[in-house]
Amino acid sequence: MDNTIEAHGLVRRFGDTTALDGVDLAARTGSVLAVLGPNGAGKTTAVRILATLLKPDEGRALVGGYDVVAQAQQVRQLIALTGQYAAVDESLTGIENLLLIGRLLGQSRAGARGRAAELLARFSLADAGGRAVKTYSGGMRRRLDLAASLVGRPRVLYLDEPTTGLDPRARSELWEVVRALTSDGVTVLLTTQYMEEADQLADDVVVIDRGRVVAVGTPGQLKAQVGRQVLTVSPVSAADVPVVARVVTDLSGAAPEVTPEAVSAQVSDPRLPQAVLQRLTEARVAVAELSLRKPSLDEVFFALTGHHAVDEATEPDDDRSAA
């Protein structure tokens, strides 16, 4: 089977709002599919449908070849879900949380204990395992939540904004876990608002906005699709910025983006950087930095949807970050 996850034309309405408006998704076995979009784009709704928590109004989705509506029970034997908030029982200890899941999945008492101990050790929670989860830090809860998802060795893992609110270190640690899982053949679908996350982790990216797919491809393809390269020039002296801007405007034929320190412009002619450098040398402007890069996924997102993926209001809050 090529695609572990396949969805066609998913539609889901809540009252008057259409959360999903005909979404197609496909994740190859053992790959990471990133579903990228701003708050309210429909990411969580899509995950909830694929996790059998919600029925689509229209369309169809298969996970491991099983229909998420008609064969939900089989699908549930393949999947695990880690949501945006750590879904662990705060009144239980870390061990008890993992034992609970193991026992519900039909593991023997000894088997569940063994698996719990193994996972706690791997997520650096062995010392805290006997403590009630309400004494855990936000980062510890998220780790326990992920551990709980792995108790049953799922073939498919859904991560709904797994790193929202995590500090950079905890974030890169989670990325390592995801990479290790996919190298073992697990298919991962992750939703994110972070371009960097999709860029780092995903084999394929689906960009959704207001319930519709606006772009599909590898991170590289997406960047290439929108992406003329961006030239940025910073003179040594900020006083030279207007000169640089004039030169870049002359040569590129378009108005560049000017900041107090640098001038940026999209490049269509590959000879432009060299020409700019030559003119600046003639003008005796010392250049501190000249760079040519592909646009970031954030810029890609902006180009595709007309707005940025993360606005100030949805920046991660600190109280959930790792200790």
């Binding site: 053992g30 909830r48 996790a51 059998t52 928590l53 919600l54 099983y66 064969q71 029970q73 089989q74 549930r76 034997q77 393949l78 999947i79 695990a80 879900l81 949501g83 908030y85 750590a86 879904a87 662990v88 029982d89 705060e90 009144s91 239980l92 200890t93 008890e96 609970l100 899941i101 026992r103 519900l104 999945l105 039909g106 050790a121 791997r122 997520f123 650096s124 009630a132 309400k134 780790r143 709980a148 792995l150 049953g152 060795r153 073939r155 640690e173 390592e176 876990v177 290790a180 899982l181 073992d184 053949g185 697990v186």
Partner: protein, 275 residues
Amino acid sequence: MTTMTTITHPASPPATALQDRVGPLDAARHILTLAWRSLVQIRHNPMELGDLSLQPLMFVALFAYVFGGAIAGSPKAFLQFGLAGIICQNALFLTMNTGVAVNTDITKGVFDRFRSLPIARSAPLAGRIVADVVRQLWSMAILLAVGTLLGFRFHTNPVSVLGAVVLLVVVAGAFSWLPVLVAMLVDEPEKVMMLGFVVVFPLTFASSAFVPVSTMPGWMQAWAAVNPATLLVDAVRGLLVGGEVAAPALGALAWAAAIGAVCAPLALRAFRRRS
């Protein structure tokens, strides 16, 4: 968490074929596991341990020794009358914990995790019910034991006492749909507790639970007569120390059925909307 990267996750597909349904034995096991989970929580939650054990103990002692003399002439005489009322009030109060727990599970996402597991669909709710029955039995046992210690005496037979226990469990079970409904509508567990104060307190105090209804002003007597708490208390009292049982018991069951019939579908509808 430097060891996180060493995680292994064997890629072999599951050895057994995937099952398309949950067998009854597995379902029973899921229910018991989830009931275990609800009961183990108590160990880490001193507040709840207090609700379940200390509060009934205090209520019996305080009511008997503070109001007992004034209401009935002596603590012993009061217990003979009032223990049934204390038990009923306690049983209704405990249903608030059900609402709090349901709200916590939903708002924290724990419920979603259960629903994404290959377990019986009814297990989360049924497990909760089993655990709640155990809680109810536990605190009734404490109330009856402490009451007996302080001078309460049964004047009926064990079958009647068992009948009282069953009636209490059934009525409290149906009544718990009200806090569960509220739990579906509010965003914080604490708000469910408010219901205890605005509903259970007036309901149980303006009833025959602690004083004879005949001592109340007329308008309150009118309410107390049809108050479901009065009906429940009268039936339980009848089953513990003698008196009329059938009429108040049927009345209490009718109220319980009505509350359940209204609140349960509303709660389930609210739940579906929420998810």
